[in-house]
Amino acid sequence: MTAAQAVNVPAASTAVAAHAIAPRAGGRPWTFYVLSAVFVFYVAALYGPMICIYILSFQDVRGGLVFPMKGLSLHWFVDLFTQVRTGDVKGAFDRSVKLAVIVTIMTVVFSFLAGLAFRRRFAGDGIVFYLMIGSLVAPGLVLSLGVGLLMHFIGIEGTWYTSAVGAQLSWTLPFGVLVMFAVMSRFDRAWEEAAYDLGATRWQTIRMVVIPILAPGLVAVALFGFTLSYDEFARTLQTAGSLNTLPLEIWTMTLNVTSPSLYALGTVTTIISFLIIAICLGTIATMQKRRASRVPAH
């Protein structure tokens, strides 16, 4: 029996191998079905909870916080913007968007400059790099506490447009810089030299050559900056001061609002996030399309 197994095992594995590399012969290899199942499970685990919330936000006035679904209406969306008891959603949303815009601009500018600086090696470049990336590892809540403490120590009152900006940059900047490095790796320094050779000043080179070539990458950095800032909770918690940003507002609502208007808020913020991503990706696509289609392809 043992001997027979020993003989059979190689034969079986050869059969499996032959099966696996010849998908056309007997349909797809078995690995396809296993991996598909894993993928479906992954996607369900990733999006399932969110989809539950979106679905439950469309209940009517009888709606509760759990399934089953009761009715179908936009009642809780109306409730969200009309009822005072749900909190200052509109003000929080305003602050979050403004904060995200400030953070995005700073992230794009500093990531771009860091990208330019890191094109060549300089003394201490490794240390500077790890200092930038280090704040990714720091726990957000601790970092938030630290920023809050520091502001208190200096004697400046922390608000969403001061200390929160700083705390969020510790999160968005490392991401922005990493994206920028990836973008810069495809940037050929010969382009700059060619511009210099043709008489362009340093500033003209940046304006006419570097920025236009890097533009799609800069939009990607902006997208990162905006979405990371817009839904950042931990780093904002201790730094936003007396007025809440949207994620803080949602968190407060989970403590005292017990109606599906909480879910409605989740749906609305998600839609806004997706709109922004769509706008950014659309911009990148338009840029590339305009470049590619000045003339019909030959």
């Binding site: 010969a190 043709l198 008489g199 362009a200 070539i213 470049r291 000045r294």
Partner: protein, 367 residues
Amino acid sequence: MEVGAGHIELAGLVKSFDGFVNAVDGVNIKIPDGAYCCLLGPSGCGKTTILRMIAGHDDPTAGEILIGGENVVGLPPVARRTAMMFQSYALFPHLSVRDNVAFSLRVRGIHKADRNKAADAMMEKVRLSEFADRLPAQLSGGQQQRVALARAAITEPRVLLLDEPLSALDEFLRIQMRQELRQMQRDLGITFVHVTHTQLEAIALADLVVVMEKGKIRQAGPAREVYASPKDRYVAEFLGGQNVLSGQVRTVNGHHAVVAAPTGSGITVPLTPGLHVDAGDPIAIAVRRDDIEIVRPGSQPAADTVAVSSRVTAIEYQGYFVKVMLDAGSNADFVVYVSERKFFNDPVSVGEVVFATWPVEVARLLR
């Protein structure tokens, strides 16, 4: 002394990137106005560094660069009136062909209509008009090179610097674009300095071939001189077409030296004027591959010829000639180029023992 606008002189040029090793190590050369000069050498020999220093993209550690008689060290490329064509052309990927060509006019603040007119005229010259609105990525390698040429030429430089301009092209296109470069140089009438590691490219194009090794010039001169009369072993081996044999000088008499050969009675070579040799010196001899004849053993060699007994190790058919490899040189390849007709009149085969013979006077002693 009055010199032409495109006359280049490098005097004691040194470049060190790290302070220890000299990438360019004391280069002195004069390139006449309107010449086509090729800097030839293996990668890392400093040829591109020299080009970049002439262009103003690197500053020399020491030495002077004179263009048209004035020292240009420290000046930007535009003030030098040089233009560089980069190895991969460095065309701006986001600009159309027209905007690429007009770029230097745009940075000078020339009005759009005027610069487009000038760019169109330049594109007409290099037959790019139909591609004016294309992006560089939509062009073939040869077309991209023409855009790079046009973009450089529109600045009206007195010197055009080309960094391995043909290396990005396939074999067929390379030969075609080689012609176009030479034609362009004649039309513009300006000095071209062209960096390459391809010997054939250099000797086909250049008025002045500068052979370099490890930051130093080994030999500079007209293509034929460098190819046919290499001064030293390095130049002979790098340019190819020569068999280099090494040995010890056995005797020296008046006009000839006899060098010990691995087989036979020694090889007689004419002395090179200005090169002193004594009996016992280790020396190298160069013999052109197409000056050698293969003779079967038994036939009497003519007077004043050298005959070296050897075995055929390989035969390669090359079309218009046949490359026969022998084991005559103990250390290096010993190759004979036999014209096709002559070879097939009486073909030798691999393994046969033959004599490689050549007239005494065609061999050269190398430094």
